[in-house]
Amino acid sequence: MRAITLILIALLGLCGPGRANDLSDIRAIRSTAAEAAEILDLENQQKVTATYATVMKNQACSLLRNTVESAGSQQIKHLAQRAIDAVKANDSAALKRLVQQLYQLEGPHGRAD
């Protein structure tokens, strides 16, 4: 029982609760922005229906708004707001730039590929 507790504490230490929340917020914003960018591109290519694109963009904005409200860090709130503004402006290029920026921010916690 003691060993399990120590392992759990060690695992938590690897993440660090504060850092883990920021990282999961950054990942969520990055992915939502990337999804929105792709949907905008496909909408321009007429590969998705207008209804699908509208609903998905609204859902993306809703997710990002939740992050603006719940994030602890001002920087993350600002990044989420930038993503919302880009989705509303149908600016796929701005979203892709944001995605790259967020991917770099994930730093050593990013994917090992």
Partner: protein
């Protein structure tokens, strides 16, 4: 000829009914996050569910006993009642995730408000269950869910690295992963095991065997449905993973919205592909809503010995009918609170895996009991696979909650 048709329909129903919202979400996220590295977990888990599914079907045909009757007999009240309570809660949460997923897909097709669509789809599902006999319910959703095959066609179209895909079937942990990502990988592995081996699938399948009055002559259908049907269904889930690895990973997409999965077919095939994908998702997810709703009612009715089954008219099994109506009502209420379907999926996945060992233990015990099974007891293969997987399930059950909290549901 009639037998061949039955077998074919059974397999096709199993294929179309295999994928639900949890497999959709986790397959897409697994592919985008870890490439092909989690394919083997899908394949591995499918062997487990095929083994237990076959066992539960065989028990239904020979012992004429559904899972929750056996659970009560074998585990007694002290273990059986907590299992019933937890599995009923988990099934209801899963049902709400499926109803939420159904409403989401309908919203993507129609643009109508989410809450309204949740209410309408629940009422429609209730009407379908009320009016149709069991076989029609199972077959219609299963066969319509075959529209999901468009994901497999998309896989062929996008020309993945087939060597890499084949290598993904070999048990592995990707090289060079930081410690944190290793923990997330472990979480995804446990989540996929849970999603593939959801308890409601066994409850529904074994109860279905009794609904359809299976006899020893139906053991062949049972074996083929669980091996070929579940196997092909699992391949369908794997194509969702492959597509995500090829299409989403380079774009840095880890799907946060269930509707993103449909892009896997829209990217190669445009609007037609998108609509087919959404149609497939609609029937697969709503079919799962029906299964989870009925599974809760089967569990409760069987545990307390009430009349049960859709082979009976609603007035002939009134408490069973009330049980599934209440399940749908509670599930809809959860959806209308505004909790995101993805969050519900996470909770149902994590708590399902905790219940799995208690679900499958009575199956293993009865499957080996000659008093119930006669000459149809478990063979060496069924026992080897069954008990090996049982160890895996116990480990997964212990690891699930810590992994969920440490990884923030796989989001760190």
């Amino acid at each position: 000829m009639g037998g061949l048709i039955e077998i074919t329909l059974g397999i096709m129903t199993a294929v179309g009914g295999f994928v639900d919202i949890s497999e959709l979400v986790f397959a897409a996220q697994a592919g985008s996050r870890f490439g092909f590295a989690l394919i083997w977990v899908f394949a591995f888990s499918t062997i487990g569910i095929a083994c237990y599914g076959e066992m539960s079907g065989r028990i239904s045909a020979i012992a004429k006993q559904p899972v929750f009757n056996l659970m009560r007999q074998r585990l007694g009240l002290r273990w059986g009642l907590p299992t019933l309570i937890v599995s009923s809660i988990v099934n209801t949460i899963t049902c709400s995730a499926e109803i939420g997923g159904t409403a989401l897909v309908l919203q993507l097709l129609t643009g109508w408000p989410y809450g309204l669509l949740a209410i309408l789809s629940t009422l429609l599902l209730v009407a379908i269950i009320w009016l149709l006999p069991f076989k029609w319910i199972e077959r219609s959703f299963g066969l319509l869910g075959l529209a999901m095959l468009c994901f497999a066609v998309a896989t062929v179209q996008i020309h993945p690295d087939w060597h890499g895909v084949a290598a993904g079937f070999v048990p592995q942990i990707p090289h060079g992963l930081p410690a944190k990502d290793l923990v997330v990988f472990a979480y995804f592995a446990v989540a996929i095991v849970s999603a593939v081996m959801f308890p409601y699938e066994t409850y529904f399948y074994s109860s279905g065997g009794i609904e359809e009055n299976w006899k020893p002559k139906d053991l062949k259908i049972n074996r083929l449905t669980t091996t070929v049907g579940f196997g092909l269904g699992s391949m369908l889930a794997i194509t969702i993973l492959i597509n995500a690895a090829v299409l989403f990973r380079p774009l840095h997409i880890d799907p946060q919205m269930p509707g993103t999965a449909a892009l896997e077919v829209a990217i190669p095939f445009g609007t037609t592909g998108l609509l087919l994908a959404l149609a497939g998702m609609l029937f697969a997810i709503s079919g799962a809503a029906v299964e989870t709703g009925l599974s809760t009612a089967y569990s409760i009715a069987q545990f307390f010995g009430w009349e049960w089954g859709r082979y009976k008219r609603p007035h002939e099994a009134p408490r069973f009918t009330i049980a599934w109506l209440v399940t749908f009502g509670v599930a809809l209420a959860i959806v209308l609170t505004g909790i995101a379907p993805l969050e519900l999926v996470e909770w149902s996945i994590v708590f399902s895996v905790v219940v799995l060992p208690l679900t499958y233990l009575p199956l293993m015990l009865i499957g080996n009991d000659r008093k119930y099974m006669g000459q149809h007891v478990n063979g060496r293969l069924a026992n080897s696979i069954g008990w090996s997987f049982y160890v895996v399930l116990v480990v997964a059950a212990i690891a699930a909650l810590p992994l969920y909290f440490v990884t923030g549901g796989g989001q760190v």
